[in-house]
């Protein structure tokens, strides 16, 4: 288990992404997969800063990386507003472009890259986002 605590300031996003990438690589993911996992962590952390803490820079974000077992489990914990996965329509990029939407891509990236994505409460009562990426994805038909 690896734990990271840092202020909710976007200036730390690049550092967090870099660390997530390195951790994913050390877990056995190749560099391309590790980069995508890091991207999902970046998007999830950005969501916490922007939507749970509404841009406040002095709140705390905690990330737990658990590489044991068959998957890399990543928990992103915060004390801000609860973020819940709202039912979303199927991803339609052309529609988003036509609507001139600037936001809303992050959640699709997280869903696309990770095998499991959930929102809930931690044992300590913090709000959290849990993302799981299996080390060995089942092949089609398996």
């Amino acid at each position: 288990m690896f734990e990271l605590r840092f202020p909710s300031d976007t200036q730390f996003l690049n550092m967090v992404r870099d660390l997530a990438r390195r951790l994913a690589e050390s877990t056995g993911f190749d560099s391309e997969e590790a980069e995508k996992i890091a991207m999902a962590v970046d998007e999830a952390t950005t969501n916490v800063i922007q939507h749970a803490y509404h841009g406040a820079k002095d709140r705390e974000i905690e990330i737990h990386f658990d590489p044991e077992g068959e998957s890399l489990d990543i928990q992103i914990l915060h004390d801000g507003d609860a973020l819940e996965e709202v039912p979303m329509p199927a991803f339609d990029l052309d529609k988003l472009v036509a609507e001139r939407r600037k936001g809303g891509l992050g959640i699709y990236i997280m869903r696309q890259v990770m095998d499991d994505l959930n929102f809930g409460k931690s044992g300590s009562g913090k709000n959290m986002c849990v993302m799981v990426r299996y080390k060995r994805r089942p092949a089609k038909g398996e």
């Binding site: 391309e32 991207m39 950005t46 600037k102 809303g104 990236i109």
Partner: protein
Amino acid sequence: MADLTMESEHRGDVVVIHARGFINAHTVRQFEAEIERALESGRNRIVINGSGLSYIASAGLGVIMGHIEDVRSKGGDIRLTNLNETVLSILEVLGFNHVCRVFDSEEEGVTSYSHSNA
């Protein structure tokens, strides 16, 4: 090194924006401001040369997504060139490479405007 540096140059009626560094929620306003500067000057043919770009988060793609329809309606476009493997794979995750035309080189990106209506 700065998180993101942006420089624009005019090549005929095409604005080439050189982005160096990374685009995420921390730097995205800088990226958007450079695109808006080009549009406010009446130039709608934009090439973003990403040879120095290490990463683009959804915030950066959102800027392109938010402007590209308006730019196209004015006869222009936003085209990307010189992207590294990381940035290309991000575009592919979302299928963004089907929204935005991507070229290997700046030269191809700039000359593509002379072969199209945009």
